[in-house]
């Protein structure tokens, strides 16, 4: 079982492609890997309870750890997060890199 960190910097309001990345996270998790999706920059815009946050909450229920960059959240005044999403510092990215996990950026 491998560990993956998938960083999503885009948001589904502006980019249709974000759901491909959420699906990739789910696919990796279903294959038995430990997967974290780290929302950063405008990627955190779907972390608020909103039309797109249900996808993220479902992802969390399916076993993907869903985190949102605390700096990006504060920058955008997002205080309330949808179910299954937790705020986290950017250190998480460096932790995963240092641990030798595969880290991808979208």
């Amino acid at each position: 079982m491998a560990q993956y960190l998938l960083i999503e910097s885009r948001d589904p309001f502006e980019s249709n492609d974000v759901h491909y990345y959420y699906d990739l996270a789910k696919g990796l998790a279903e294959a038995g890997n430990q997967v974290t999706l780290f929302l950063a920059q405008n990627g955190v815009l779907s972390a608020r309870p909103c039309m797109h946050s249900t996808s993220l909450s479902a992802l969390s229920k399916s076993g993907v750890t869903v985190l949102a960059d605390d700096f990006s959240l504060k920058e955008r005044g997002i205080a309330k997060l949808a179910e299954g999403i937790a705020a986290a510092p950017i250190d998480v990215v460096v932790d995963h890199l240092a641990a030798g996990n595969k880290v991808l950026w979208h």
Binding site: Y20, L24, N33, L104
Partner: protein
């Protein structure tokens, strides 16, 4: 032996006329020449790079004429045949864009979006471009 790297390329036709190359495919080819071991997956709009028969004559601006216009289909074939870089294309992304498999350059390998995660374990590194 070099670290096997899977490169998922989705950015397409960005600065291709200016650079006369896709800069990511160019970079990977250059690294391969230095001993890297790359594989490419074309997804999203980048699947269009595998469509045969594409390309325009060079840009003309006043008296300035471009003489080395890029041809992405030629570059994909070059990756496969000369650089020995395997190139996959995501079948669902082809279908979404109305691209028939018969339109593709020879040598590209078809891969379903659902099978992409299963490739990851075969590589030391996976990068998204």
């Amino acid at each position: 032996m070099a670290k096997k790297t899977l490169n998922i390329v989705e950015s397409a036709y960005r600065a291709v006329m200016e650079e006369q190359d896709d800069t990511i495919l160019w970079l990977l080819a250059a690294m391969q020449g230095a001993g890297a071991e790359h594989t490419v997956v074309l997804r999203g709009n980048a699947v269009n790079y595998a469509v045969a028969g594409q390309g325009v004559p060079g840009l003309t601006v006043g008296e300035w004429k471009q003489t080395q216009a890029p041809k992405m289909d030629r570059d994909v074939v070059d990756l496969i045949e000369n650089r020995k870089i395997p190139v996959y294309v995501i079948t669902e992304d082809l279908a979404d864009r109305g691209i028939d498999h018969s339109e593709l350059v020879p040598g590209v390998q078809l891969l379903s979006r659902t099978d992409l995660p299963s490739l990851f374990g075969d590589y030391a590194l996976v990068s998204h471009w």
